[in-house]
Amino acid sequence: MKKRYLAAVLSAVLVMSCTACGGGQDNNASAGGTEESTEGAQSSGSSTVVVAMGSGFATVDPGYVYEKYPPLIVNACYENLFKFYDNDSAPEPCLADSYEFSEDNLTLTVKLKEGITFASGNPMTSADVLFSINRCKNLQGNPSFIADTIESMEAPDEQTIVFHLTQEDSAILSKLTYSALAILDSAVVKENGGTDAEDAATTDTAQAYLDSTSAGSGMYVMTSYIPDEEVVLEKNPNYWGEATNVDKYIIKIQPDSNTQMMTLSTGDIDVALNMTDDTMAELAGAENIGIINGATKTVGFVMMNMKEEYSGPVSNPKVQQAIRKALDYSGFQIICGEGTLTPYSVIQSGFMGSKGERATDYTNLEEAKALLAEAGYADGFDVDLTVSDLDMEGILLTDLAQKVKDDLSQVGINVNIVSQPWAAGYGDAYRDGTLGFTVMYWGTDYNDPNVQLEFLPGAVVGLRAGWSEEMNPELAALYQETMAATDNDARIAVLEQVQDAMYEDGPFIMIAQAPAHIGYNSRLDGVAISDPYALDVTLINIK
């Protein structure tokens, strides 16, 4: 009897294995390259594109989004008044038809394009714009700060919105491109618990709905979202503009870069967003695979607190300059991988007004030693460098800290690396400005050089380094001057002043702009690095 049981179990396992293997054979087909159709299944025909991204996210409700990848989905399903059609260019009108600043730059009037409809078929009006922006502001979520300079709005007619600003804001158009300010179909969102009232933080219940589908006017509609697994976008049948020839996107969450490399090579996915130098090397020379290595605007920096009580000798400006001279920037580029840049100063390469890259021969150990001697530390000193468990686009900050330690040992500074988790103390200390010496990164909140003004004395990040406005009032004043420069030429001139002033002065050293490594199936056209959207799927076509 027992023999029969054993035989039955073994047979079952064998049959299962065989049938299962049979099922697996079909997977050699390209994600979108073949018309694979199976009974009762969706077809991933040639007009479907599969994208792999490196991590899941908390929400795709535009009112709450602030993580790296949700903008990819929001940009596909919703639209903003303005949009970045090119990663390094200025924002251009999208839903807006025209715009005008008042003479004092405190009022912005935007006229909407006519004939725009949401995926539901509802026409888009200025009331939807007011609802969406007020909702984001009143939800008091992560991205609410983006509307800080908007004091109030009014809609004199269905096609016009007037923004009253709290101060001159040369970045307002860029801010209006941000995913959190995407325009929602207010009727649909209200029906599903949404509100833009002042108490929206406690009364709005639309997040669950907006995590299950989309309510925008974008090229695509989110038809399925399985958290930490995949998102499916299908073409919006009521799209008002000219759509690309991609009918459907399947966005897969694939955290491991080796997995992305293998699935791209076998044709199971079309775009791999999180490749590394190593996995890119595997793809070199592969047929039908395109690769992109380029710098993002996420920047790693060394912070040296200006307050001696926290940083000891590192607070001395001469020591800070010595450290700046001692760091081997090309070494950081090697650690971070192909495509990495070292910005000239505080404004990343690629931004309007950027002065480009720091000269490769900037490092000078003799000068660094001389500066240390001038500061009274000819024999060097010991210092703690605190580092968190975070990574910058996949590059561990501890790796960068190790490189700082190695470089500074060349000039007699003995660095002791102290690890502290972000959520367990480091975050608080960083925010409170009590970290003496650290390596950190800064991801741009919105795609505009003004985000970097936070590094100025008296601004958000400046204060984290104990750099108050009084320490350098002239430089601090450039914050407001840049904000007021709504004319691009004028803004570029001020931004250049900022960069020159911080080139060899201040508590920050920008060490590297993190690279992005993207692999894609060469049947696609328009795949490119996108800082605001991670990948702009509305610009991709199948050749």
């Binding site: 293997c21 399925s224 367990a424 925010r431």
Partner: protein, 339 residues
């Protein structure tokens, strides 16, 4: 009646243990350094006191710890595990979303581990000290000692990327959409949908991650089966049976294996409990949206309600499995029932 009393007693223990685990994990999450506000709010938002206050109020983080605890236990008694700080969704529904993926993979893995582990153990015992025995022992030692993340990359590289024998990461091929959720187990739900190709595709996606996860438990089962079988085979009643002329295979299957299986059952139970707790690295490599990945993301976000939820789930797993194993002892060996 005795059996019912036994099960009732076990269930009572289970409730007390769960309460203890909930309290312990709650205290631990409050003791360890980690601020959910810092972990989940952006650098800009952290600088806005209004946003920070609204965030703390939303998740009850502004309440004294004792009030938070009382509220937590009160909600727990109503089967409410709270709201995930990371995803803003009920923890119970988040666990219901990701746990079936783990259950499906764990059951498949334990099936492979048990079938092949016992088979190899028996073969090894029968052919003691032969080349076959040496080979089986080498395989089992390798299974126990090989790092699962490395093994995962290895099998994916060869069997998916190079040889194209098995499908790649994920639970289904791109050409299929997820089946309508009944159990959350894709193979079963696809069968229930009447879509056989989809069910077979889901089954095929289980093979590589299932094999990787099975390797460790299979090694343990093989070794336990072998050593126990050898012990039993040296007992007097086996010698008597052999003297009666019973063949070697019959001797093992009819007289020895049953007695040797009790410790094996314990190993299988522990292995299943381990697998049901989720395997972060293997889930990451195989893009498997299970409870391991959920737990990992929750820890990174200091998402205390979710962490406590996962801890309770894992505790519940072990308790249920241990209870079932205890009952199965009685089924395999009537002497245990008498005790």
């Amino acid at each position: 009646m005795e059996q019912l009393k036994f099960v009732g007693k076990r269930l009572a223990y289970l409730v007390i243990m769960l309460f203890g685990v909930a309290t312990l994990v709650f205290i631990l999450t409050k003791l360890i350094p980690g601020d959910p506000t810092v972990a989940n709010l952006s650098q800009r938002a952290l600088n806005d006191p209004e946003v920070v206050a609204a965030y703390k109020a939303k998740y009850g983080l502004d309440q004294p710890i004792l009030v938070q605890y009382v509220l937590y236990i009160k909600n727990l008694l109503q089967f409410d595990l709270g709201t995930s700080i990371r995803t803003s969704k009920p923890v119970l529904s988040e666990l219901a979303r990701c746990y079936p993926a783990t259950i499906e993979l764990a059951l498949f893995s334990i099936l492979i581990a048990a079938v092949f582990g016992i088979l190899f153990g028996v073969i090894s015992a029968i052919r003691r000290n032969s080349i076959l025995d040496q080979a089986v022992r080498a395989v089992s030692v390798t299974g126990v000692s090989i790092p699962s993340f490395w093994f995962a990359l290895l099998v994916l590289y060869f069997f998916y990327y190079k040889l194209h024998i098995f499908p790649g990461p994920g639970r289904l091929d791109n050409s299929f959409s997820a089946p309508a959720t009944v159990t959350g187990l894709y193979v079963l739900d696809s069968f229930l949908e009447g879509n056989i190709p989809k069910a077979l595709d889901a089954l095929s996606h289980l093979i590589l991650p299932g094999t990787v996860l099975a390797a460790f438990t299979m090694g343990l089962i093989t070794r336990t089966t072998r050593s126990n079988l050898l012990d039993v085979m040296s007992m007097d009643y086996i010698r008597t049976a052999r003297a009666k002329g019973i063949g070697k295979v019959g001797l093992i299957l009819h007289h020895a294996l049953g007695n040797a299986l009790i410790p094996v059952l314990t190993v299988i139970g522990l292995g299943l409990g381990n697998l049901l707790g989720g395997m972060v690295l293997v889930e990451t490599i195989f893009n498997w949206p299970g409870v391991g990945q959920f737990a990992y993301e929750s820890v990174l976000s200091a998402d205390f309600p979710a962490i406590i939820g996962v801890a309770l789930l894992i505790a519940l797993n072990y308790m249920i499995i241990n209870t079932v194993v205890d009952i199965l002892y009685g089924v395999i060996d009537p002497r245990v029932r008498c005790q």
